[in-house]
Symmetry: C2
Subunit: 313 residues, 2 copies
């Protein structure tokens, strides 16, 4: 059932022993939502915690390094920034989702209650929920929410960023979010392993359809060669779309089992989610993802073929 | 004489035939200030124009493409975002500067009247001035001011960005600034020649002193191979400092005559200007430059040696 911010805050206030789930391969927005909500619920005296299917990249540790983990039996489960329940990874089978707070228009309404708003970052919605809960937003909580705003908008760069996003950022900075340090950690710091992977990724870039489609291919061999891993590939996908003239950027990543995951990036002229949908995936109009049960070369060919069709309208 | 926003607006309202000067090698902030002020003064029925010593890069043409150039004899000259009068380039000798609107704490007070405020972008101050002038801010004027905010803060990334900057951006977006298109043009568009050069530059990166020093080397052969040129290297220097653990990033660029130019990037721990000074150069604490009358390899060795000394304190 679709609910509004007020009802969402009521539901959270009514429950205790709340487990918050982020999506697998957690990013700044899902983690920002998760730990911001966790901090807010702690302030209300509740027992709660955050869980997800994968290891949290080290650069996000400032969000939770001061929080002691509590062991408890969850009686209410909330998914944040999770568009479909299979994005929960291996946690999908373990939990029934009572509440979902999300900003993906493709949300499959898998939770009993869904707060879904149109915002460039789920953290922008979470700020409203936490305001409605009436708890004081301290600098660490503000930092969690700021991280989501910043990371999901490419540091306020993407066209989806609205005046409300900038206002939310202003408010969070005034509440103590360390915007300089957060943005440096998120956008200005490459691990050596990532830097090596980025080089190989750029070397792999190929162009199609008069250079309107760019494809990066990342193989397991490239992870082995560089010491990098899939967790570090988040920043790779946007590189495809940065080349002048490219309208569709595709990043094909080989999984350990030889099948593929693909990230799609487009501009206004092409709907990325529509391409992803052809392969059973989804996402946003300009950033989407899907899985393909084949090797990287076949995956690339199939994605390029479908993308070329989209360009022809 | 130092003045406030109110007095600055009064001075502008009192005068006509106003020439606005931006600094040489104009960037988004000085141009944004210049064309925003020009548009505001037009709305007040004044004769005015913008001038600078160098050609304006094509990517900024949306700021002025709809403005007809007027020939007039200036009776009042305003410099915007210009810290010292020698940054006016060849225009320095031609004009007496009546008024300066700036945000550089190093401003040398060369103008009769100076509006100097602490802000990450001069456009943030210009927004206050234009509000005080009482003119309506249309979408094109808003776009000029937004450009300055965005470009001088690395798209709202740098630590200098304040809550007020984000609020100003929110206001300008509501007034019609096309933030998506502007940021794409400023930050997300790499020419193919630049993209090729960047790959070679990343391939050339070498590490020294337990990876605390990173060096990129760009040769004339690399320009020839990629079709790129030195004008496109602006975005290369920051790449060195982005690698985790790197404290000094050096970019050595070979000139056509076989000698070198070097760009230095550091974090708070090392003063880049001090290293540059050893080779007759200079700059800011975290970004400096110098020339070396030798080939790239010798230049690299000398810079690394001096940098290693700096690391040892």
């Amino acid at each position: 059932m679709r609910i509004d911010v007020k009802r969402c805050a009521e539901l959270l206030a009514e429950h205790d022993n709340i487990l918050i789930l982020t999506h697998a391969h957690p990013d700044g927005d899902t983690l920002g939502c998760g730990f911001a909500l966790c901090r807010a619920l702690y302030k209300l005296g509740k027992i709660c915690g955050v869980a997800n299917a994968d290891e949290i990249p080290k650069k996000y540790s400032y969000m939770f390094e001061d929080i002691a983990e509590i062991k408890f039996k969850p009686s209410y489960v909330v998914a944040v920034d999770v568009a479909t329940d299979n994005l929960l990874g291996e946690l999908q089978r373990q939990y029934h989702i009572d509440l979902c707070i999300d900003h993906h228009s493709t949300n499959t309404e898998y939770a009993d209650y869904l707060l879904l708003e149109d915002a460039p970052a789920a953290c922008q919605i979470m700020l409203e929920v936490i305001r409605e809960l009436g708890v004081e937003i301290d600098s660490r909580l503000a930092g969690c929410l700021y991280t989501g705003l910043s990371t999901d908008t490419g540091c306020f760069k993407y066209a989806s960023t609205t005046a409300a996003t900038y206002r939310a950022a202003a408010e969070l900075i005034e509440l103590g979010a360390d915007n300089g340090a957060i943005n440096r950690a998120m956008f200005e710091t490459k691990t050596k392993t990532y830097a090596r992977l980025e080089r190989l990724a750029l070397d792999s870039m190929r162009f199609y359809e008069n250079d309107r489609i760019a494809v990066i291919t990342i193989t397991q061999a490239m992870y082995n060669e560089t010491g990098s891993n899939e967790q570090e590939t988040e920043a790779i996908a946007p590189l495809t779309r940065q080349i002048e003239g490219v309208e569709i950027g595709i990043t094909v990543k080989e999984k350990p089992d030889g099948t593929c995951k693909a990230s799609l990036r487009t501009f206004e002229t092409v709907n990325a989610a529509e391409i992803a949908k052809c392969f059973g995936g989804g996402g946003h109009a300009q950033a989407a993802a899907c899985r393909l049960e084949c090797g990287v070369e076949e995956a690339r060919d199939r994605l390029v073929e479908k993308s070329a069709q989209m360009l022809k309208g």
